[in-house]
């Protein structure tokens, strides 16, 4: 199959035009960096330059977004929410009733948009989150999704063979545990409230948050046990 032709025709470019684009960019950027840039890098750079010159975007705002996702908006936000639910029954109740409102009330993180739903794991039920159609994920509490979450293996199998997926993650659940998979097909976003590990009685919420892994809030993992904390 001719991938190059397929891609170019999707964009309405023919191969000759495409080669011209590549040549132009190679000329520009070799001087700047002295190294080969990939075709994707060149196209992304062209796009950013054009959008900037046309006044649509401000590159310094892009820098700020990237910095926020690299430094502020990650799974620690969700872990703090989970740990609080483990230690504060009133908060847990509020979280399960209206996660948007409950998380919003914490005020320690970037604000949460509407439509967040928390689903609780119990001894008889395990929840798992997927987006079979694209990559919907609760960014504000978990950050950007990992590559595997957006990959074909996960998206295809989670709704049909979640126990098989769990075994890829080294997790085996009791045979009679109900597995509930939530396919995020709209703008609702889900976060799993995992079960609090045994042996953590009397722990502070701060300490408990260290046990809450990203995957435990997606449902492809379990929280760490007390002995597993680094």
């Amino acid at each position: 199959m001719d991938f190059q032709r397929l891609r170019c025709s999707a964009l309405g470019w023919d191969d000759a035009e495409q080669e011209t684009v590549m040549a132009d960019h190679d000329h520009d950027h070799h001087h700047e960096h002295g190294s080969e840039l990939s075709e994707t890098q060149l196209r992304v750079r062209a796009l950013e330059t054009v959008l900037t010159e046309k006044g649509y975007i401000d590159p310094s705002a892009l820098d700020a977004i990237i910095e926020a996702y690299e430094t502020k908006i990650g799974p620690r936000n969700g872990a703090v929410v989970v740990a609080r639910a483990w230690t504060d029954p009133a908060f847990k109740k509020a979280l399960l009733e209206d996660a948007t409102k409950a998380v919003g009330s914490m005020g320690h993180m970037s604000r949460v948009g509407d439509h967040l739903v928390a689903v609780e794991n119990t001894p008889t039920r395990h929840n798992m989150i997927v987006c079979t159609l694209c990559s919907c994920y609760p960014w504000e509490v978990l950050g950007l999704p990992p590559v595997w979450y957006k990959s074909a293996p996960y998206r295809s199998r989670a709704v049909k063979d979640p126990r098989g997926v769990l075994s890829d993650f080294g997790i085996t659940l009791p045979k009679d545990t109900e597995i509930r998979v939530w396919d995020s097909t709209a703008e609702t976003r889900f976060i799993v409230l995992p079960m609090r590990p045994a042996g953590t009685e009397g722990w502070s919420a701060d300490k408990l948050a260290d046990l809450v892994t990203r995957d435990s809030m997606i449902g492809t993992g379990l929280p760490l046990n007390p002995g597993e904390v680094k």
């Binding site: 046309k54 975007i57 401000d58 990237i66 990992p146 595997w148 049909k160 609702t188």
Partner: protein, 218 residues
């Protein structure tokens, strides 16, 4: 559309392989793509469902082999050109050749923090909700050539309404440039046997979030 993006239940993609200590971005250009998408969305250039639909329309082989952010970049090229924000000649030249079109607003560093909060998808209802939690519903057997959020594996299946999420903008309409057309949104849960037949895992239940036009009483 019945595209390769609609992957639920397909076989043959292999094991899920998690990367240890995965970085937020694997290359700087990925962050540029993500943040450009956010900035153009903030500016009101297009809606998230236009981005999704543009990706769905990539040739299947391209969709399956391009990396995630490359798909985003290709979709963005499609949206900026088809919506008249940029000409193909400008992308080719790597420079603007004429002034831009007016946009609603521009994302600047001072408003980035506020912009990272997702906007609401709630819209005023057009009528009363047709279903309530506990109702049995059948998903419709529809195969539109355009964007829809009813996955193939969950069409023409009987499930139970579990949650009502209020009235939301309707992706099928938004992606087709027919406006928000607000619709009630429900979580509908199906036993695995209903989706995958009698050999399915008896402990498994799967839910989708389904807009009211996808559903009829069962």
């Amino acid at each position: 559309m019945d595209g390769v993006h609609d992957m639920g239940g397909m076989d043959g993609f292999g094991k899920v392989e998690a990367e240890k200590d995965e970085p937020v971005f694997h290359a700087p250009w990925e962050g540029r793509v993500l943040s450009m998408q956010r900035a153009m969305g903030y500016a009101g250039a297009w809606h998230i469902d236009h981005s999704r639909f543009a990706q769905e329309q990539l040739p299947p082989a391209e969709y399956l082999t391009a990396s995630y952010y490359r798909r985003w970049a290709l979709a963005m090229e499609k949206n900026v050109t088809e919506r008249g924000y940029v000409t193909p000649e400008e992308l080719k030249a790597g420079h603007a050749l004429k002034p831009g079109k007016p946009l609603k607003r521009k994302l600047t560093p001072d408003v980035v923090d506020a912009s990272l909060c997702r906007s609401t998808f709630y819209r005023p209802q057009q009528g009363p909700a047709r279903f309530k939690p506990g109702d049995r519903v059948r998903t419709k057997n529809i195969h539109p050539a355009s964007h829809t959020r009813l996955p193939r594996y969950a069409r023409d299946k009987v499930g139970v309404v579990e949650l009502c999420h209020g009235c939301h903008m309707f992706p099928d309409s938004v992606a087709a440039d027919r406006g928000d057309d607000p619709q009630w949104l429900y979580t509908v849960v199906f036993p695995a046997q209903e989706l995958w037949g009698p050999d399915a895992d008896p402990t498994l239940k799967v839910s989708i979030d389904a807009f009211e036009p996808y559903l009829e009483p069962a």
